[in-house]
């Protein structure tokens, strides 16, 4: 029989930290974070660029600064942290089974378990990139770790496939560290990362961004020697448009996948659109006492959103809110909505992503003919997460399912 705690948090990245701090603030007597790395912060310590914390702290922080600040809050709040600890299983109870070098195998019984494992990167195979398998093919996160933590160059001349934020940031970092970036290739007709990263990371350094292009094959025996790139229309390479680009490394930045091995194996209901578990607006999964937050639920593009949502999860794990829940679903030009269930009686922040870019729109949350919330946007793009705050709803008002639509704004 292992220790019993009020709230056990799996993962000490931004989501886990925020959940743990919020749980303490909401009155949990004992909160423990189980983190597999030797330090807190998850991916943040290697994200040395700024752009973190504007919403949460009102300051433009770097990743390490944001992580350190949150780790400080956790320490002040009295959150216990187990580093170098890998969680192996989640059983009903909920009970976590974990291992680390100092204790060995152990179990943690908790009233509430918060899953905050983050996400992993899609690989070259998942992006359909064929060819040989030499050294020099890295996912963007790995390349970033080598550059920013280890001080190692993954390559001297790189091609970057995918224009997600990490890929764009990598293009700049590689350039600043003396490597040559031959180009960033994005198969969509628009950049997948934030505009500010396109501007600050590519435009500032004259790095070409090739939209509607992708990498088809890797060449080289021991080490990458070149890649074949081609134009893409409707997801298919255009025959005859292939070009061979010499390089010694390929950085793959083709998206993130919520890391849900634990969630899945425990039997939580999953949402195929997000890749994460179905959660209600208190971030409860379908497993009793089990919460999920951060990139485990869906991939975010701003850490501030992660912290905000995780804080809801942590607080509820400490002191669960009562109230029935109704489903909230994606409507026109909306790919997914998180949370997937709306708990009445508390204010809710709804996150969603659109299917395709659209200009001059209104994002509206409706229950039947009743509009619960709306927001105008000059432009929406799939890479950017949209959010909308809804006031607390009473159960009598929510008579049926809630739908989120993204419609062209009606011209008055």
């Amino acid at each position: 029989m292992g220790p019993e705690v009020d709230v056990a948090v799996v993962g000490g990245g931004p989501a886990g930290l925020a959940a743990a701090v919020a749980a303490k603030e909401a009155g949990a007597a004992s909160v423990v974070i189980l983190e597999r790395e030797e330090c807190l912060g998850g991916i943040l310590p290697q994200c040395i660029h700024t752009g973190f914390g504007l919403a949460r702290f009102g300051e433009d922080l770097t990743g390490p600064e944001y992580a350190e600040r949150y780790a400080g809050l956790a320490a002040e709040a009295g959150v216990e942290v187990l580093l170098g600890t890998t969680v192996l299983g989640l059983a009903p109870g909920p009970v976590l089974r974990a291992v680390n070098p100092s204790v060995g195998l152990f179990k943690v019984h908790a009233r509430g378990v918060v899953l905050a494992m983050g996400c992993r990167e899609r690989t070259r195979v998942q992006a359909g990139i064929g060819g040989t398998r030499p050294a020099g093919v890295f996912t963007a996160g790995v390349a970033q770790r080598y550059l920013n933590i280890e001080g190692c160059l993954p390559g001297q001349s790189a091609v970057i496939v995918g224009s997600g934020d990490v890929g764009l940031l990598l293009a700049r970092r590689l350039t600043l560290c003396g490597a040559r970036v031959a180009g960033v290739y994005e198969q969509l007709p628009y950049a997948s990362g934030l505009m500010r990263n396109v501007v600050q990371c590519l435009h500032d350094f004259g790095i070409p961004l090739h939209l509607s292009h992708t990498v088809l094959e890797v060449h080289g025996r021991g080490r990458v020697e070149a890649v074949t790139v081609a134009q893409v229309t409707e997801g298919r390479p255009v025959p005859g448009s292939e070009t061979v680009v010499p390089c010694d490394s390929l950085v793959v930045s083709v998206g993130l996948i919520p890391e849900n091995e634990l969630t899945r194996s425990a039997g939580a209901l999953m949402d195929t659109a997000t890749g994460g578990p179905v959660v209600d607006s208190r971030y409860r999964t379908t497993l009793p006492g089990v919460y999920a937050c951060g990139n485990v639920v869906h991939v975010h593009d701003l850490v501030d959103h992660v912290s905000a949502a995780a804080a809801v999860a942590g607080a509820d794990a400490a002191r669960p809110a009562a109230g029935p829940a109704v489903p909230i679903v994606a409507g026109d030009n909306v790919r997914y909505v998180v949370p997937q269930r709306l708990v009445t009686g508390t204010p809710v922040r709804v996150y969603c992503r659109v299917v395709r870019p659209q200009r001059d729109v209104e994002l509206a949350v409706c229950c039947g003919s009743r509009v619960i919330g709306r927001r105008r946007e000059a432009a929406v793009r799939p890479p950017e997460l949209l959010c909308l705050d809804l006031p607390a709803q009473s159960p009598d008002e929510l008579t049926g399912p809630v739908v989120v639509n993204c419609h062209p704004r009606e011209v008055a």
């Binding site: 597999r36 170098g84 890998t86 192996l88 299983g89 089974r97 291992v99 680390n100 070098p101 100092s102 204790v103 060995g104 195998l105 992993r120 990167e121 690989t123 070259r124 195979v125 998942q126 359909g128 064929g130 060819g131 040989t132 398998r133 030499p134 050294a135 020099g136 996912t139 996160g141 790995v142 770790r145 080598y146 550059l147 280890e150 001080g151 190692c152 160059l153 993954p154 390559g155 001297q156 560290c177 003396g178 490597a179 088809l216 094959e217 890797v218 060449h219 025996r221 021991g222 080490r223 390479p237 010694d248 490394s249 091995e261 899945r264």
Partner: protein, 566 residues
């Protein structure tokens, strides 16, 4: 011009190959000339091989853009101390064939060394195998393949138990789509009887097939089931053989390319390598795709390898909609020289689809392609509509070392006494390997190598346990108490600990590269494909050996450090 030369020439001419120079001696058809394209080169070779009376084909045919193959250029290397010792037998190549032979040779009072160009055992065609231990239905009756395949397959369960290698027997399910093709089942049963494949049953009607494999989709008329088709980790098995060989005194010289076989007065006197001459009067040529060039270096021009690329696609262990058995569509429209691959569970639990079969002159590169993937997905996706190609986590390819007779070529080399060629080891080379090893021992003995059994034959040293298989045990708790590295999970997808990675780097056959660690521990084989563990493994390699490579020489993991100059 003798009769056989005339016969081969005639056949080639009638197929439109006017300009092929043919010279047949002792049943070996030697071909030369330049043809229009590679497919023609391969076809001409096959035509010659199929001429009655031709025992094997040596081809110097080429086509524009393709040079005659050469052994890779020797690198500048310091001499190995092993080159100062006398040897009885040098085995060239540490694939499944070479290591199986080494393991058998280790039973005898002989000084044996295995020399391998790659940085690891099983690094060539062996690692690129899908791990199917074929039952022996495919080879033509009477072929060497047929005999050794069935024999080898029967040896696997016992051998794997002895070596501590996991062996699964999912069986093979051939699926016949159309009722018009059901007559083929009688041919399968006849083939099974001729090749002595045990337990094969015909399944008439969709019901019988679906009762075995309920996930199958589309129209099904019937099929056959062969219960002895197995699955093994090809590198796990090969490494186990090599480790047992090493435990019994066999030496391994890895990361050392062979530049030729030294022959004097019609007799092998050694094997030339980048690190010096290994003196020996016996040589087993198990050099896979290079076997023809190794043989030719000894003056033996009896066979030519024409590589055939096979691409394989690996699914996430979690993927649904897959089969319990290894399934393969079976009908009239079969490729002539290949079974066309299968779809089924590997020994490690992942499902693997493939391989494809693409003729190529390229002997060093093993690329996968979009076309290959599309073909495999179309072919097996039809049978397994519940499987999602988005669950494919890895793709790899290998080169089958194919001779024109499409059979194994296991024989004493003519004109080079002491050289035994073990060539043409295409599928079912893995299944046959244990029997091939026995055949090689027989040939060596027959050739005059004194085979005196050693008094003691040591078992394979017990491999360290796997964390993922011990996760709840008290043993694990005890392991962590003695070595905390057992509690440090390095690869989260496959749950591999630091202790296992460190153990994999131990010993003369220990891993020296990231890929070699992966093959031994499975770190990096999971769904994130090393995204999480790659740098951890690299760091552990760096701490122990200094420089880190992905797969040996020429594959530096990183490109340098951030320097003052940048």
């Amino acid at each position: 011009m003798d009769d056989l030369t005339r016969a081969v020439t005639r056949r080639l001419r009638s197929a439109g190959y006017q300009d092929v120079a043919v010279d047949c001696r002792d049943g070996v058809a030697a071909l030369a000339g330049t043809l229009l394209h590679w497919e023609a080169v391969v076809e001409a070779g096959h035509i010659a091989a199929e001429t009655p009376g031709v025992r094997s084909v040596y081809s110097e045919l080429t086509c524009p853009g393709v040079d005659l193959p050469k052994l890779p250029a020797a690198r500048r290397r310091p001499q190995s101390p092993l080159c100062r010792e006398p040897w009885d037998v040098v085995v060239v190549g540490a694939g499944v064939t070479g290591c199986s032979v080494a393991r058998e040779l280790a039973r005898y009072d002989l000084r044996v060394i295995v020399v391998e160009a790659g940085d690891d055992v099983a690094g060539g065609a062996t690692r690129a195998n899908n791990g199917t231990v074929h039952c022996g239905l495919d080879p033509l009756p009477g072929s060497l393949k047929a005999k050794l395949n069935v024999q080898g397959n029967a040896m696997y369960p016992g051998l794997c138990a002895e070596l501590g290698v996991s062996y699964r027997v999912p069986g093979l399910l051939g699926v016949v789509r159309s009722a018009d093709e059901l007559f083929l089942l009688d041919l399968v049963l006849a083939r099974a009887a001729e090749n002595r494949v045990p337990g094969v049953v015909a399944l008439r009607g969709a019901e019988a097939v679906r009762s075995l494999e309920p996930t199958l989709g589309g129209e099904i008329a019937g099929g056959f089931y062969s219960p002895t088709t197995g699955a093994v980790s090809p590198y796990g098995f090969t490494l186990a053989c090599a480790e047992q060989a090493a435990a019994n005194g066999v030496s391994f010289l890895l990361d050392t390319a062979v530049t030729g076989v030294a022959v004097h007065a019609g007799r092998v006197r050694g094997v030339r390598t980048e690190r010096g001459l290994l003196e020996a009067s016996w040589c087993v040529n198990a050099a896979g795709v290079w076997a023809d060039l190794i043989a030719a270096s000894a003056g033996c021009r009896e066979f030519t390898i024409h590589p055939r690329l096979g691409e394989m696609f690996v699914f996430d262990v979690r993927a649904r909609g897959h089969s319990r058995t290894i399934i393969t569509p079976f009908g009239l429209a079969q490729d002539e020289y290949t079974k066309g691959g299968g779809a089924g569970p590997s020994a490690c639990g992942n499902h693997i689809w493939g391989p494809t079969a693409v003729e190529t002159w390229e002997r060093r590169l093993t690329p996968t392609s979009r076309t290959g993937r599309a073909k495999v997905v179309a072919k097996f996706g039809e049978l397994l509509p519940g499987a999602d190609p988005a669950d494919i986590i890895a793709a790899y390819a290998g080169l089958r070392a194919v001779t024109y007779t499409e059979d194994f070529h296991i024989a004493h080399a003519r004109g080079a006494g002491g050289l035994v060629n073990v060539a043409g080891m295409q599928s079912p080379g893995l299944a046959a390997a244990p029997a091939v090893a026995l055949e090689v021992i027989r040939l060596l003995g027959e050739g005059g190598l004194p085979l005196r059994l050693r008094r003691h034959y040591a078992p394979r040293p017990t491999p360290p346990p796997r964390f993922s298989e011990l996760a709840d045990g008290e043993l694990l708790q005890a392991l962590i108490r003695t070595d905390p590295a057992w509690g440090r999970v390095v690869c989260r997808c496959e749950q591999v600990t630091e202790a296992e990675v460190k153990a994999a780097m131990q010993g003369p056959l220990g891993a020296r590269s990231v890929d070699a660690v992966k093959r031994r521990t499975r770190a990096g084989m999971g769904r994130c494909q090393g995204g999480f563990c790659g740098y951890r493994v690299a760091t552990l390699l760096q701490e122990r050996f200094g420089a880190v490579t992905k797969a040996g020489d020429g594959s530096p993991w990183l490109a340098g450090v951030i320097s003052h100059g940048t």
